[in-house]
């Protein structure tokens, strides 16, 4: 591994050496003895699927997360990064995927937030503004006023400010974690120009992007990660994009997906459980039409933030101003609030993206969480029928094999996988006919993932209609009967049966043509 890294950066001694970094979150292993070596004057691309450990690695490097094990050396000297300020003092500057901007402050304040120019002990507003203007000008940006509050800027402009903020700090090691995901091609070009200039001045740059063509264009070295481990490092151009994708995917999980189950036969040609016609919302969802038949699992794929989340929220009644038509079981419905998704015959359930804030009441017991959505069914005149609740909750906990210290303990004490089972169980108690799932296996261990896949199949066999949004391509392939790929708020491709392949999904997610079969 080290030998490979050394070959990748032959002449220059390494600026950064990370070795044997491990990090566990509860039972989930985010990093497992991973390393990273970066040289001065090189742009180092870090590659891997969602959940491969890239983001955790970067968080360790910027002092946001403290690793369980491993060493970090900068310029050959071991360093300890306890908090973000430590990393910044050492010249390690990160541009995060989740923006670290202060929305109420102006662009100039944000760019100068750390170590602003001072006069008489006070911030020199003029100098700070000049510095901000210089940083923005360097990125070729002219449409951002330094006095504009960041909250008023669109996402792409915020990302530029975030990059400018990093540049203004004169880093030795610059990390860009998906920092260009919302930028236009022209913006990306000027950002790349700056990155190249910085590289030529001797900076080390770590670059993370899901856009392969960007990696191709700018990286000098590449390191590939999978399942929290370092797979390989090589100089850019040594491997074809296809080879890199194979490395990222690996070939070790084909077997975890259960086969489709035969369920009770429904009518020969049932009306679709859900039919969506020309659905649009703000400028985030465009003209979306599709249908799901009972017993079908339909995948929802694409790069992060292409409208998947909004589509699920729209189908759950949580957005206002949605246009288009939604029909459940052949009948048009008006979904104006989540309460409106209670429909005769079962209704719609949403397993939301962030289980900790949107799915669960963490401090409350497993029992309280499980029965929460079905409280109305379990109550008479507003009084909870404890016997019925106990029976329903116990049955669900057994059915889903929820592992806990009893139903009265707080749900916060459960592992991520068991928490997710509670969220799903909560909805199953309402007997929904349509289940929307937003990336339900994110951050969940492999064993529980398998159980969830089996559960999804069982539900489908019982003639529920499932819409599964996943950032894990393998899941879309292994679990889904059909896959819809979103790009910029619109469905750009529908893949069916044997057409659901890694290559086709990745290609469609980047809005590229499919590989000939």
């Amino acid at each position: 591994m080290t030998a490979v890294a050394d070959r990748a950066a032959p002449a220059v001694p390494a600026l950064l050496q990370m070795r044997g970094i491990s990090k566990h979150y509860g039972g989930v292993r985010a990093l497992d003895g991973a390393g990273l070596t970066c040289a001065r004057g090189r742009i180092h691309a870090v590659l891997g699927e969602n959940g491969a450990g890239k983001s955790t690695l970067i968080k360790v490097l910027s002092g946001v997360v403290r690793p369980d094990a491993g060493t970090i050396e900068l310029d050959g000297a071991p360093v300890e990064l306890r908090r973000p300020a430590d990393a910044q003092r050492l010249g390690i500057v990160s541009v995060f995927q989740e923006l670290s901007l202060l929305p109420d402050l102006t662009v100039a304040d944000n760019i100068g937030i750390v170590d602003p120019p001072r006069r008489w002990g006070m911030i020199d507003a003029r100098a700070q503004r000049r510095r901000a203007e210089a940083a923005l000008a360097r990125l070729g940006v002219t449409d951002i006023h330094p006095l504009a509050p960041v909250r008023d800027l669109p996402l792409s402009r915020r990302q530029i400010v975030e990059i400018a903020k990093a540049l203004a700090r004169a880093p030795r090691l610059l990390i860009l974690d998906e920092a260009t995901s919302a930028l236009t091609a022209a913006d990306v070009a000027s950002v790349f120009g700056v990155l190249r200039a910085l590289r030529d001045q001797g900076l080390a740059i770590v670059f993370i992007s899901h856009r392969m063509h960007e990696i191709d264009e700018i990286a000098d070295d590449c390191s590939v990660y999978r399942n929290g481990r370092h797979v390989a490092s090589f100089a850019a151009g040594e491997r074809t994009p296809n080879q890199i994708i194979e490395m990222m995917i690996g070939r070790d999980y084909d077997s975890v997906f259960p086969p489709r189950l035969a369920g009770p036969e429904g009518p020969e040609n049932p009306p679709p459980a859900l039919r969506v016609t020309r659905l649009s919302w703000a400028d985030r969802l465009r003209d979306i039409s599709f249908e799901i038949r009972p017993g079908e699992v339909v995948g929802l794929g694409g790069l992060d933030g292409q409208g998947q989340r909004e589509l699920l929220l729209a189908l759950f009644g949580a957005l206002t101003g949605v246009t288009g038509e939604i029909a459940v079981g052949g009948k048009p419905v008006a979904l104006s609030s989540p309460r409106g998704t209670r429909l005769p015959g079962g209704g719609i359930a949403l397993v939301p993206e962030d289980r900790k804030t949107e799915g669960l009441m963490l401090a409350m017991s497993v029992r309280d969480n499980l029965s929460f959505a079905a409280l109305d069914q379990l109550s008479r005149f507003g009084v909870i029928d404890r016997g019925a609740e106990q029976a329903a909750v116990t049955e669900m906990a057994e059915l889903l094999r929820i592992r806990s210290d009893g139903l009265d303990g707080p749900v916060a004490a459960l592992s991520g996988g068991n928490q997710q089972k509670v969220v799903i169980g909560k909805w199953l108690l309402t007997r929904p006919q349509i289940i929307l799932l937003a990336d339900p296996t994110r951050g969940i261990d492999v064993g529980t993932k398998q159980e969830l896949y089996q559960l999804l199949r069982r539900l489908a066999a019982q003639r529920a209609a499932l819409l599964l949004h996943s950032t894990d391509y393998a899941e879309l392939i292994g679990c889904c009967d059909r896959v819809l790929i979103l790009y910029d708020g619109a469905i750009v491709r529908e893949l069916d049966g044997s057409a659901i392949t890694e290559h086709n999904i990745v290609a469609a997610a980047h809005n590229l043509p499919a590989e000939p079969a």
Binding site: P338, L350, M361, L362, A363, D368, F372, D376
Partner: protein, 324 residues
């Protein structure tokens, strides 16, 4: 005997650490009081303390509901006064109105609470500032009310009966009233979907909204109940002191909030029990009483009062490290 012990043990394990701490502090206060003056443990004195505590207890009931949601109700002082004044004023009108004195006063309080709830739940104004404004309005109304015409300000016999008399078993009726309200609240919090939703909203509105819970309705109902509790406490206080007067609710806001928090409720919502609130109410009452018995000057009382609250919170009410 062993069965009782085992039941007690189970109760002990189930009960929140903060509630146990509050109960423990009560025991310590009782022992300390008894060491100073043996009369402190006399039945009569203790009943008298409970009677005083019951007024605070009724107010704290409403405070608990609102705090469990993660909100706060600063309109308590003048809604208490409003309750007292409306009941005495209604009683002043001859004829049928007199018998409606208590329900009318409570309804007025509930109306103010309803307004608070609507502002917080639907206008989404922070509860602290919205209830502050309604408090000022209640104050304004009462000032106008008392000055316009000279309303009758004396308590009715019914109010006197509720607040002062000891009709059953020699226990003050006010304590019975508190027990009934408390029992109803416990049943509501533990047995109904409404109670479950109160805790859930305090834990996170988003999860409740996405689980089809009625966020707005529950918030409005809790504020309305808080207003009703405050107004009813005002009725009792007017009965106790035989008349309603300006600013009679002012000394109750801070002790009520302190009692709820000392009883283990999280001021940010989602956690707290009625048992804890009862312990907190008695704790605050006993603390005030002991400080006055030992003839501690008011100055020392305030300092000790504040210091004890800080010390107890530092011991068991801290928020977890790293969470912001």
């Amino acid at each position: 005997m062993t069965a009782t012990l085992r039941a007690l043990g189970a109760l002990f394990r189930r009960t929140d650490r903060a509630v146990l701490a509050a109960i423990g502090c009560n025991v310590v206060l009782l022992i300390a009081g008894a060491l100073y003056d043996a009369n402190f443990l006399s039945l009569d004195y203790l009943l008298q303390q409970l009677q005083v505590a019951s007024f605070l207890g009724v107010i704290a009931t409403g405070v608990l509901l609102v705090v469990l949601l993660g909100h706060i109700d600063l309109s308590i002082p003048w809604v208490v006064t409003l309750g007292g004044m409306m009941s005495t004023a209604t009683a002043g009108h001859a004829g049928i109105a007199g018998s409606f004195a208590i329900p009318f006063a409570v309804a007025c309080g509930a109306g103010f609470g309803l307004a608070n709830g609507l502002g917080v739940a639907y206008l989404r104004v922070p509860s602290m500032i919205f209830t502050l404004a309604t408090n000022t309005i209640a104050q304004g109304l009462m000032v106008v009310h008392t000055s316009g015409f000279a309303p009758q300000d004396h308590a009715t016999p019914a109010m006197h009966l509720l607040a002062v008399e000891r009709s059953i078993l020699g226990i003050p009726n006010a304590v019975w009233v508190w027990a009934v309200i408390g029992g109803a609240t416990v049943a509501m919090l533990r047995r109904t979907g409404f109670g479950r939703r109160i805790y859930a909203i305090g834990n996170g509105e988003r999860a409740v909204y996405l689980s089809r819970g009625h966020v707005g309705r529950v918030v409005v109902a809790c504020f309305a109940l808080s207003g009703a509790c405050s107004a009813f406490a005002g009725v009792l206080l007017a009965g106790y002191s035989t008349k309603a007067y300006q600013a009679m609710g002012d000394p109750y806001l801070l002790p009520a909030i302190a009692a709820v928090v000392l009883g283990g409720a999280n001021i940010l919502g989602g956690r707290g029990s009625y048992l804890g609130t009862v312990a907190g109410v008695i704790l605050v009452t006993l603390l005030q009483s002991i400080l006055s018995i030992v003839q501690m000057p008011e100055a020392g009382r305030q300092v000790i009062y504040g210091t004890v609250i800080i010390a107890m919170l530092l011991a068991y009410g801290r928020r977890p490290k790293g969470v912001t």
